[in-house]
């Protein structure tokens, strides 16, 4: 390849040393990343490969549309529920079903609690070890750690020197056992770790606290959905009936009190632990502002969290909707998920084939045949890839584009769009964080900015969860206990042929499901998910995707220990099981897929 310019403004040079990270760990699913480094260890070329494919949309063909939520929920058990919500919305859109206000409030509470849970678990359990060194925490003075904790967050009750000493003792015993478990073979002597021991001890302590607390947050979904992971949903509303004056109703006063208690605790944890930790850790790393990638130019959000039921227009969505291209923050474009010219998917570098190879297709008309084929410059074999050839096909992820542009989605995209639209809550949060860290606005367009936006959003989501709980209770008080609209639940009431679309903002970004229903069965079902956007390979024009763009021009301290690559990839919270799907062609059999 040599040196080439991409249309979206990156200079790729694959002549330097090639570094491979496979598997990329601490993500959902399976992914590989390859980069080239120049003599100064700067990344000059980045290649991200989705390394799994399951074909769920093929499996959905001819199923009952009312069941689809359960299938697609199994796309991902980490953002559990968000695909299910997107699915019931798509089916309701197709069949023109309105849901009761209470169902909207309950769905929002479930979706918001997912945002809180997912962001928290992502930060502490998937991302923190990129910044925090548990081995270094052994050197900390528990008294100084206690002082740090009280300075960083005076409202958090667990802050005594004895508390930190106990945790340190436990970690010491663990590490000295020689059985390091999940910490084994980490890059613990890498110079890229910058925290003082006290900050490391504080963060490791919160790693454990958050591990305990996260299981409380999701009990909200156990109350409304019966279990978590993978709670239950319903086309037409929610399955949990409300009965304030009957024995045996799934939702009564005790259940609502339970949700209220957890919601308040979630707000407290996000405000007193999660966000202060991000700012504290961010303070030590604010000189490391790599990883912006597409965030400063192209971001996309569909919007979510309808305030009133059944209105999915931008004005009624509490999470912002819009697209920014070419870095023009003063111009937020409207987004129409139904417009065949806006969202399209391309496959020249993906392991699929289209009848017309270079053309992009809107999801309603998507066609895919799996086509595992490697480029001519591959080093290795079909079943032992040593160096992938990004000139050919190289990923199980397709390349979605918005009006031809590669886009970044996710919390940072939402916050940038919200900021550009003057969304007061988001703007205050961003300005306050920038002030605390004493950095200018462009600092937001970075790996750290992505991580910080996620924390801010967790605080926001926890508070909105309380808003919808209050709203639910007020509505019940006004005499409305209804939770499901069963009018069109019976398939015999449906038209012969309909299509619909559902969209949400998953924790990782914009998520859409497109469905066609024919003779009461699913004719075609297609998902374009956040990691398809972010993890996208190159398209026909050669535009690189968000992961790839974000890695460019980052300096790696030690080539054999590329913690910087992990940092930036993790800042997107990749979900590979989500991103790698096939779409079934209308009515056609899949030629390339072997069916047992």
């Amino acid at each position: 390849m040599g040196i080439i310019e991409t249309p979206n403004g990156f200079t790729l040079d694959d002549t330097g040393k090639r570094v491979v990270v496979d598997p990329v760990t601490r993500i959902e699913g399976h992914m590989r990343c390859e980069v080239n480094l120049d003599e100064s260890n700067m990344i000059t070329n980045a290649v991200s490969t989705g390394t799994m494919w399951r074909g769920l949309e093929v499996i959905l063909k001819d199923r009952d549309p009312r069941d689809a939520w359960a299938f697609v929920q199994r796309i991902c058990g980490v953002c559990t529920g968000t695909h299910a919500l997107t699915s019931v919305r798509a089916v309701e859109d197709a069949l023109n079903i309105d849901i009761p206000e209470n169902a909207n409030s309950i769905r929002n509470i479930m979706q918001l609690s997912l945002q809180v849970h997912d962001h928290l678990v992502h930060f502490y359990h998937l991302h923190a070890l990129d910044w925090v060194n548990p081995v270094n925490a052994l050197k900390a003075d528990p008294r100084a750690t206690s002082e740090l904790q009280q300075k960083v967050s005076p409202s958090h009750p667990n802050s005594s020197p004895g508390y930190f000493r106990d945790v340190q003792t436990r970690i010491r015993k663990f590490i000295e056992s020689g059985q390091l478990g999940p910490f084994k073979n980490g890059y613990w002597s890498n110079p890229a770790y910058l925290l003082p021991p006290e900050a490391d001890l504080m963060a490791v302590t919160h790693y454990l606290e958050a591990l305990d607390f996260q299981k409380e947050i999701m009990t909200v979904r156990t109350i409304f959905g019966g279990k978590d992971t993978h709670p239950n949903w319903l086309v037409g509303g929610v399955p949990c009936a409300i009965g304030m004056n009957t024995a045996g109703a799934p939702i009564n006063m005790e259940r609502l009190n339970y949700v209220k208690n957890i919601t308040q605790r979630a707000i407290d944890f996000c405000k007193n632990v999660y966000m202060p930790d991000i700012l504290a850790i961010g303070g030590f790393y604010k000189g490391w502002l790599y990883g912006g990638g597409l965030s400063s130019t192209n971001v996309l959000a569909y919007g979510d969290i309808p305030d009133r039921a059944n209105d999915y227009s931008a004005g009624n969505l509490m999470m912002p909707q819009g697209a920014i291209i070419n870095g023009k923050l003063d111009e937020v474009h409207p987004v129409d998920v139904r417009d065949p010219d806006e969202i399209q998917e391309f496959v020249p570098h993906s392991w699929y084939k289209y009848p017309d190879g270079a053309k992009g297709l809107h999801p309603w008309d998507g066609v895919t045949e799996a086509n595992y084929e490697l480029g001519p410059n591959l080093i290795g074999t079909k079943t032992n890839i040593q160096r992938i050839d990004e000139g050919g096909k190289y990923s199980w992820i397709k390349a979605p584009r918005w009006k031809g542009n590669a886009m970044e989605v996710g919390p940072l995209a939402r916050y940038i769009i919200g900021y550009a639209q003057g969304h007061e809550y988001f703007t205050d949060q961003i300005d306050s964080a920038l002030r605390t860290l004493d950095v200018p606005l462009p600092a937001l367009f970075s790996t750290l900015g992505r991580t910080a936006a996620r924390g801010m959003e967790a605080v926001w989501a926890a508070e909105q969860q309380m808003y919808f709980l209050d709203k639910l209770i007020a509505n019940i008080k006004n005499g409305d206990s209804s939770t499901a609209n069963s009018e069109k639940f019976d398939p015999s009431t449906w038209p012969t042929e309909v299509k619909g679309v559902g969209f949400t903002e998953a924790p990782r970004g914009a998520l859409g499901h497109w469905i066609k229903i024919k003779d009461t069965k699913i004719e075609n079902y297609q998902c374009v998910v956040p990691t398809t956007w972010n993890g996208s390979p190159r398209d026909a024009e050669g535009n690189i995707g968000a992961f790839e763009a974000s890695l460019m021009n980052t300096k790696v301290e030690v080539a054999e220990e590329p913690v910087e690559i992990l940092r930036t990839l993790h800042s997107f919270d990749p979900c590979l099981a989500c991103s790698t799907h096939v779409m079934s062609p209308d009515g056609e059999e899949l030629a390339e897929v072997k069916v047992r």
Partner: protein, 358 residues
Amino acid sequence: MPETFYDVMRRQGITRRSFLKYCSLAAGALGLSPAFAPKIAHAMETKPRIPVLWLHGLECTCCSESFIRSAHPLAKDVILSMISLDYDDTIMAAAGDQAEAIIEETIEKYDGNFILAVEGNAPLDEDGMYCIIAGKPFVEQLRHVAEHAKAIISWGSCASWGCVQAARPNPTRATPTHKVPGMPNKPIIKVPGCPPISEVMTAVITYMLTFEKMPELDNQGRPKMFYSQRIHDKCYRRGHFDAGQFVEKFDDEGARKGYCLYKVGCKGPTTYNACSTIRWNGGLSFPIQAGHPCIGCSEDGFWDKGSFYERLTDIKGFGIDADADEIGKTAAMVVGGAAAIHAGASIIKRIANKGDQA
């Protein structure tokens, strides 16, 4: 000094005296003379945590997510104090070569003495390249690690049965652990469910650590402790089933009174799992309690048994369908006729018992 099993027990408030008593009982349970008690005590005071390699194939990671939700024991305590979770790509710090090196190190150091936990499953088509780890097919990694493991835990319905990616038409030929060609002959414990209940997952592990053996398994390889009764057998709404009181549609009066969900598709009568006894997330609730019919997610092939909202009609030797309607009619006609309802209910019970033995 590593934190041993004894340390963990002490930290959880168990006294030295109780610990020694436990060791004597353990000796007895193992058929050993009391003289062995000090040896057991010594072993428990010094033995290292058992290494676990947790591999991930085609999956959605819901099993891992369920695992970290365990209320008792906490996931934190399992990971820090009970096992040595040396490989688990979802949470491990290491990546790439350093991650893969751990597998070889563990095999070298603990050959035949570690547990392999499998989440997800292996696709066999396209030479296995529908799931790639370190440039190679996942199925190779799975076979290789299994070869050296002491025992295998198949977490969840993916590893146990195939689950969603193996649903018709199974585009990648996704294959559960025990059906992968070339797998070595190792004991496999299936812990099905999508996902399995958090506390069931941690209980399976702690059972093995505590009793130093596999839990008793049924003829399908599932721990009897959790999978030998149907959800229906212990459902708190069973009384409404027997009385012919059903939810006819969602959010109707019956739904608000917590009536039986059988007529809106509940698969509780054919699903073997512990949801109605242990319940979910620290015993807080379970799908039926929250108003949704059981979808049967711990059963083999549950995705391909028709709509989740269609009433069960093909239960061999069970005959619920006709009886439920009969009872419904009886209950409606004889309002307050408790005797008639009870008569109907006991018929169901007899049939159910017969089904149990089948």
